[in-house]
Symmetry: C2
Subunit: 355 residues, 2 copies
Amino acid sequence: MVCRSRRHQPTAGGLTIDDVIKGSPTLEAVARLAGVSRATASRAINGGSRVSARAQQAVNDAVRQLGYTPNSAARSLVTRRTDSVALIVPEPDERVFSDPFFARTLHVVTNVLSERDLQVVLLIARPNDDKQRILRYLHRRTVDGAIVVSHHRDDGLSDEVATLKLPSTFVGRPWTSADQVSWVSTDNIDGSHKATRLLIERGCRRIGTIAGPADMTVGQDRLVGWRRALAEAELPDDAVVHSDFTEAGGIEAGRSIMRAHPDLDGLVVASDLMAAGALRALAAAGKRVPDDVAVTGYDDLGISEHTDPPLTTLRNPITEMADQAARLLLEQLDGSATAPRRVIFTPTLVRRLSA
Amino acid sequence: MVCRSRRHQPTAGGLTIDDVIKGSPTLEAVARLAGVSRATASRAINGGSRVSARAQQAVNDAVRQLGYTPNSAARSLVTRRTDSVALIVPEPDERVFSDPFFARTLHVVTNVLSERDLQVVLLIARPNDDKQRILRYLHRRTVDGAIVVSHHRDDGLSDEVATLKLPSTFVGRPWTSADQVSWVSTDNIDGSHKATRLLIERGCRRIGTIAGPADMTVGQDRLVGWRRALAEAELPDDAVVHSDFTEAGGIEAGRSIMRAHPDLDGLVVASDLMAAGALRALAAAGKRVPDDVAVTGYDDLGISEHTDPPLTTLRNPITEMADQAARLLLEQLDGSATAPRRVIFTPTLVRRLSA
DNA sequence: CGGACTGGTGAGAGCGCTTCCACTCTCGTG
DNA sequence: CACGAGAGTGGAAGCGCTCTCACCAGTCCG
């Protein structure tokens, strides 16, 4: 009883035993120490509109003195915001960590979002095992929004996000619900078309491709661009091998495509990492690049300069894409976005020695 | 009033207009649909002790029918748990994504923790900018615990974690508070000592080292091991260059150490990635490895087999370390850990061609 | 000098959940 | 047959926060 009455006495600066014992200080403690109400303390802490200079100062001091940090669960419960967003990467983690694309994207996204004090949570989901776990995670609304990178046909993400009406941006065109969610992408058909055209103009007549996974739109679109250019030149388009965007996959694919089509004189590869692998396979098979086989990569993220020979490739404006993706998400979080938007960038051809 | 009375009527299966309008269903709605109290519904959902089979079934059905997912903020507020833990990497993100060590660690940690339905949140903190942000994050207790990888001298993490009494494990010996937090590590002094001994036994007499960052215990310890072996053999230990565990850093360091000490016949490098860089620098300088200069790496995470020549290196049991780190954290979360624990693994020498 | 504002404030009502506690029924036992 | 044990249940009290609303000065205008 004594304790109880003491506790509620609003003596400015009067801290009770309770405050000292308790783990982290609450808003209540701050308010009491500052000699104001909880409401005023809350206002002062959250960007003080309608708070007198005196009260503001008192609260600031109390916060500092107690080392107060708001309890985020309590805050989220009422604001229905968590101030964190997920960067979802539905890929096995080996790939995430070997492909510089993800590093760059994470970097840029984190930078843009941290301007608004949003915490980026990286969720790496192995495609099959974790599908349900990720969907549950989103459903629970542990994050205010999501940026999905490297989305696959059956991961269910675009539909889930669309039905949940969760603010989100996809990097790369989603398979489904494409007109209900925002996304950024590059014109992969165009890029691949450019690469193939280059080989044709160079004189190649037997051009194969190492394509990306068939369950990703990037994979599909780059394949379409290659097909289209060959069709326009009335060249055969039967030399296709799908791989997984890794260097190891590229070696394997390079080996198998050369075995199946030994007469190839051009090779359009859907990523630099795979192209680096393919170059190794070609070297091992005794083929000179570009003299025997001309090769193009895709992405231009550093590796392409260090291969032997350096890769002719298509530069995707990854930085701009990631930046745009983050901003599209911000728009939605702000509520300023009216309808889903899409932004499509154009890749540019970078000529080096491989073609 | 009508609405209100209807709302509280415990008619099994009776949903009110409110339920339909509201976004996500609450426990209240589940309870009403199941014809039980909120308390019973909660018990049923959380692993039903003291719940009749009938009630359990009714709640299960209601959950399914409504697509109910508990609101995590509300739950955390009362349980004081968030069911998520942070993997903190105080490194610029370029490094995180180029070093396979992190990929492996993340992979293992995620696997172990997901057995317990813990969500792993990856926090990459650029050392200087984000120091405060990370500390604030931990302070707010947005996570139940943390695993800190690649901790630096001045990042404040070990002290913060110790004073917050936040369950945590460090991978690599922390600089301060080392007896107040749990950590796993390998015996880096021993490993580096072994590498240096090997070179000495091989006949090298002028052995330099490319050391890791001086503000990391790994960097320091591996340097100490090298020094110790040289001292034992009464050889000079003045050829030291510090670098940053990246390949680019290794090239630069290799170049500069050879310039300063052209007579070097052995080089102990504190990581495979740096060693790969050093090999390039040596090749560029016209030195043959191992004939002119014998080289050792450290870590053995894949790259070491693909360098030219393949690296003799020390294998750290990364998988076991990460596994152990996760389990030490689990112990603390369970409350079964009494005192901070440390686990130290022994590195093993892997001989390839570079030494 | 009354009325309409306006800046500043605190009381209090929740947000959706878990959990303590008190209560009601069974049973099995002395 | 009374009684205690134990299983199953619901009422209600919070967790720590935000935010509406009512209120109380002052200030300004007609």
